[in-house]
Subunit: 218 residues, 2 copies
Amino acid sequence: MTYSEENYLKAIYHLSLTQKQGVSTNAIAGMVESKASSVTDMIKKLAEKELVIYQKYQGVMLTDKGLLAAKMIVRKHRLWEVFLVEKLDFAWDEVHDVAEELEHIKSEKLINKLDAFLGFPTEDPHGDPIPDRNGNIVKVEKQLLSEFEVGQTGICVGVKDSSSSFLQYLDKQQIALGSKIKIIAKESFDMSLTIEVEKKHMIISNKIASNLFAKIVS
Amino acid sequence: MTYSEENYLKAIYHLSLTQKQGVSTNAIAGMVESKASSVTDMIKKLAEKELVIYQKYQGVMLTDKGLLAAKMIVRKHRLWEVFLVEKLDFAWDEVHDVAEELEHIKSEKLINKLDAFLGFPTEDPHGDPIPDRNGNIVKVEKQLLSEFEVGQTGICVGVKDSSSSFLQYLDKQQIALGSKIKIIAKESFDMSLTIEVEKKHMIISNKIASNLFAKIVS
DNA sequence: ATAAAAATTTAGGCAAAACTAAAAATATAT
DNA sequence: ATATATTTTTAGTTTTGCCTAAATTTTTAT
């Protein structure tokens, strides 16, 4: 599989997690930063290789083969991210672009040895699950902080948006994976939240709360 | 720089280490496994970018800029090889192809952090020197075992050929980097050597001896 | 010195992956 | 329901890196 084919597969995979029907040409184009016409070309190629099912104008869906291939790319991406953060001391907002390249290195032996070296992690530095060598994913109970009720407490376990600017905002506010967060109040006008983190109160917008995953603890 | 451009640069670099004049089109074609006409095309592109100096029919030479770029690729290749062997437990005959891919990952930060993680190694698993971040290479005193005199003793410090088959032969004979080797006799008919390694005597052909680097110790 | 051999370059093409512009299909809105 | 808007596909190009075949230059051998 080429570098480009892998990127398309990955894009289709990520999009299909939220769209239960076929993934649209335009959505893919947005994700891989190309034009719809280029996507149509590539989709045909992927369909020939039986990685996706494609019907003109109806969007695409991954086949079992395509799904597994996509998961293996995601596995590589996330394992490399763990390596960069845990072993090379990268910050969590710096790893995405490098992992984007590393994920295309073709060696099963490499990735399985890396997995072992890292101690078979199940989540990447942003709290996203790492598929195992068979494509199995451990689902963790979690919900968006914006869905918490006032009075509830959670442990931050992931981010929905892993853009550098969002992650740096969290660093600045000293919110990290593992932080205990209590919902003190919710403003009904804009859905902003007053939360308590490390004994300090702060206000976060609904947009922030909608991009933070937490696990309820009480 | 593209993947392909990097491979050509690296090939020219390796060839220019043994050829003090311009590197020939055919030699490059052999190294990158392409045809002479393809090499001519690529050379023109590299010349436009001022990475090589090129005169029709006269071969190519690296410019300072090209030399530094080539050394950085070699640096990456060899650091990744160290990583694979030291950290991921690959055998020294398994690392080349994977490193061949890893060397193209574009991130200075990555490679410098990897360098630090590995403890700033100066040699790769085959005894080849690793250029530092400025392109400086530590030269180690060494010579081919085939050039040793009878009675001399050396420590094996590198291999000239790092093909899997040669490395596996050495493994089988229990010759590794660091092995102490004494020349017991040299057969004048075929230049084969009787050597002593770890108290055991064995005979190695001239071809083997011509691909093993050692440092004289007495 | 010159003919033959080898190496190199040029010319013309191909495949992958992208693009623009135009055509076709589908979705939306009044 | 039908006109309009949006989405998707098709058709035709471009660029990169490779190829083959032919032409040219350099090297080698007599």
